[in-house]
Amino acid sequence: MTPFALIGTAWSSIGGNRLRTGLTLLGIIIGVAAVIALMSIGRGAQEDITNRIESLGSNLLYVRPLDGDLTLDDALALVDPVFAPSIVSVAPEVSTGGSVTYRITDAFAQIAGVTPEFAEVRNFEVASGEFISPAHVQNRKNVAVLGSQTAEDLFGERDPVGVDIAISGLRFAVIGVLESKGATAFGNEDSRVLVPLTTAFYRLSGERTSEGDITVSLINVQADGERIDEAQQEAETVLRLRHEITDADDFTVDTQQSVIDALSEATGTLTVFLGAVAGISLVVGGIGIMNIMLVSVTERTREIGIRKALGAKRRDILAQFVTEAVLLSIGGGLLGVGVGVVASRVLDGFSLAGSQLITVFSGDIAALALVVSAAIGLFFGIYPAARAAQLHPIEALRHE
């Protein structure tokens, strides 16, 4: 039989029992739609995280201690036109624990001591007020810049600039509020309280190395334009010299990209996982196809006998039933793509447990879902089709 005749025959027998065909299609439709919706959610999460990290500045490096200490002097040594020409500026951070209180309201926030460079290096702008100035650092001023979430937690709609708050029992004046950034690799950037580095060190934390140096928990490094790899190498060289390292580094230098890559990999795994979970329902749909094809083969045993008597070979019968199964699964797949696209549109921006769901649909997800559903039709169609093909013509004709 020609492919055209095969599809025609399959089409007319599929159309012969609308209700049953519809129910069989439903299994595949739900499976494909679920794959598309869940994978769109996974993709959305992936894209969202990437965007947020990139909004921190694309030419960033992060230096963190591994099993040694990083000191303020380490940070300052990285700004060196001779040994580190690709590094533009550094912003060391000292993070400390502590409570943040306004009158009787507590806020959960990370407290970090930073320098004025922090705003530029980490790509932060103040939404109101001003940022920490060199004078604040020099004079160990008790001033604080609030993350947007912390400001909201403590003050609601009111502008906190100029108001005093308490950090670990000490009085601090709020001088600014940061613009909102959302959650990133380093936790929620909006739930932070920034104070001058010196204030954090001398008033709040006070951790020193055994040699008496000021320790920092993170050094943000801004590379010169695209020279990120060079900046990374230079930072490593400078720190290895300073730390007199002979074998393994006691610090790590990560690029923004490597952070994005690591997170993308994690969310990519999540996407695949979500797709696989939805894929299970697709397999269930495939079993539905197999079920219906087995019923159909039994019901049409006589037809198979007639076709064989007229000269249909085993492979003609095989092709006929496989075509039917694949047509069902591709039909269900196409409808499922439609439903899935609509579902991912509807879910986009839907708020779930306080955070917004972001979905990203793309053609490759649809293509994947279609190919998988066609493969499922083929896989689950072959067994019933083979049963049909193996029927003996006379026995098939005798079937009632």
Binding site: A5, A309, G311, P393
Partner: protein, 238 residues
């Protein structure tokens, strides 16, 4: 004249669990080109089994079957199917039409698995030759038994077969319809030289052919020419 069908010592034994059921016990039979022969015998004597083997629908347990000089009994599925499609027109007692399809589509079905050229025109022509050209759109259930059997004959004819096999083609029909069917088969044999072999248990029907082979308990027990074959008067408009 050359033998179209040459069956020698043909045996068929069905196996039901542990019991062997011998159905054909060494049938030998030769049918030549252009013959019109009927096979008679009591129910259960193995007539259908023999016809199915001759029609390449079933395989013998042992013995030889030469179709146009070629040994059939060792062929595989594809070759048997191709032979059913191109050389043999088989008509069943129960018509075996697909109820979903129109008369024309039922006839065309026979061409799906072989030479598809001009399928529609040839199918229409075959329907016309059995007097049903005007009913081509009708589905089997909208046709009488005789008409359905004529569609089945058209379906067997459309491939231009070498032999026409019919297993009790009039078994389910009234006298008038039977006469129409016999008239068509006689005309095909007389005018177009088609070899016809049919199974019947009605002596009346058998007397329309030119030779009667009698079967009993899976053996040929008689093989007689019909001195003066009857001419069926079923006036099918052609």
């Amino acid at each position: 004249m050359a033998g179209v069908i040459e069956v020698t010592d043909l045996r068929k034994t069905y196996r039901l669990g542990a019991i062997d059921v011998p159905v054909l016990n060494g049938v030998s039979l030769a049918v030549e080109h252009g013959e019109m022969v009927s096979i008679m015998g009591p129910s259960g004597s193995g007539k259908s089994t023999l016809m199915n083997i001759i029609g390449c629908l079933d395989a013998p347990t042992s013995g030889s079957y030469l179709l146009e000089g070629e040994e059939v009994s060792r062929w595989g599925d594809a070759r048997l199917a191709a032979t059913r499609n191109s050389k043999i027109g088989f008509v069943f007692q129960t018509y075996n039409l697909l109820p979903r399809l129109s008369a024309l589509a039922n006839v065309e079905l026979a061409l799906q698995y072989g030479d598809r050229r001009n399928a529609r025109a040839r199918s229409l022509q075959a329907l016309e030759s059995v007097g049903l050209g005007h009913r081509y759109k009708h589905r089997p259930l909208e046709l009488s038994g005789g008409e359905q059997q004529r569609v089945a004959i058209a379906r067997a004819l459309v491939k231009g077969p070498a032999i026409m096999l019919a297993d009790e083609p009039t078994g389910a029909l009234d006298t008038r319809s039977s006469a129409e069917i016999m008239a068509i088969l006689q005309r095909l044999n007389r005018d177009e030289g088609l070899t016809v072999a049919l199974v019947t248990h009605e002596a009346d029907v058998a007397r329309h052919t030119r030779r009667i082979v009698s079967l009993r308990d899976g053996l040929v027990v008689g093989d007689e020419p019909v001195p003066e074959p009857l001419q069926a008067a079923g006036g099918v408009p052609v």
